[in-house]
Symmetry: D2
């Protein structure tokens, strides 16, 4: 089962600067060979369910090992059986509808 | 690694009434032997990481098998290495602080 | 427009114990006269859109005033035009479907 | 008070294709003059608290007016008093830490 995920990992107990922890989690996702896209409030991830969730678990392990005693993560996750849809497809289907009517494409 | 999760499963493509699907997911969680607490906007779950996420995956499989072509789930998940904390502990630690100062208990 | 919200306020930069901040936010919601239900991973809120969001803003102001330099909040929010639905209705509609078939009620 | 938001609007009761509704919401945000960045699982928004939340409310009104009887939205929202931080700053602070050590920049 393929899954699209939007992941936001927030370490607690390490002050207000959390980007080093987020970057460590990004590296975990990349080392797992997952397709990812970083945005200002999280990371989009595309992959097989078991591989994606193994990487999310590894993120928590790595961020704890870096010294964060507590982690508060939020995820959105989508699965569908009607058709395959990539991260790029999702953005494109909205952007197509944002294009002004009467435009050449 | 123990995890506390707040899970909200939203099936798409099945109309506006989604409670039958949410109930099916509840049964999956209970059959997995996980401690859960239902609220108006999701379900709190307490358990070992691998068992919790296996149950969440099973929820998606069951809800798709019931006919939902698309599922949009949101999760909050917390892990901590400083101390054990149950679902009940979390509620109690807030409620203790809501009690008026000078109260007998 | 009525809205049902599930609110989770996470202060950063104040260590790992966040319950005092969550309790302060609870008091804000109660003083606003909103119907609320605390759970282990957030608070359900029911009310008119403008009143609910004014209270959420006030939560952020109060938690910052308590000394938290950064706040990371997550919300689920639902509106519907087909029928009125309270927090209690949402829980009941799932619980009804969890009851064993053939049960007396 | 400035706020960074990550917004995901999911209309229910309109089938599995929701991009037309998401696009309508994007237009509302742009007409409100807010800085936004679309990603595969939502939209980053940067602005003053009252303006951002007025636009989110308008999204719900517009999506209901298009025929969606029910909307399930999720938001992440961050405020901070220690320093100003834009959407671009947040991405850059993670990307800087992802750059290989010893790289020329």
């Amino acid at each position: 089962m393929k899954v699209l995920v939007d992941l936001s990992v927030v370490p607690l107990g390490v002050g207000v600067s959390v980007s080093a922890y987020v970057a460590a989690c990004e590296r975990v996702l990349q080392e797992a060979g997952l397709e990812t896209a970083l945005h200002a409030y999280g990371t989009n991830i595309e992959g097989e369910w078991d591989e994606v969730f193994a990487a999310v678990k590894r993120c928590h392990e790595v961020v704890h090992a870096m010294g964060a005693p507590r982690i508060s993560t939020t995820m959105r996750l989508g699965t569908r059986t009607d058709r395959a849809q990539s991260l790029a497809d999702k953005v494109k289907s909205v952007e197509d509808k944002l294009r002004p009517e009467g435009s050449a494409d």
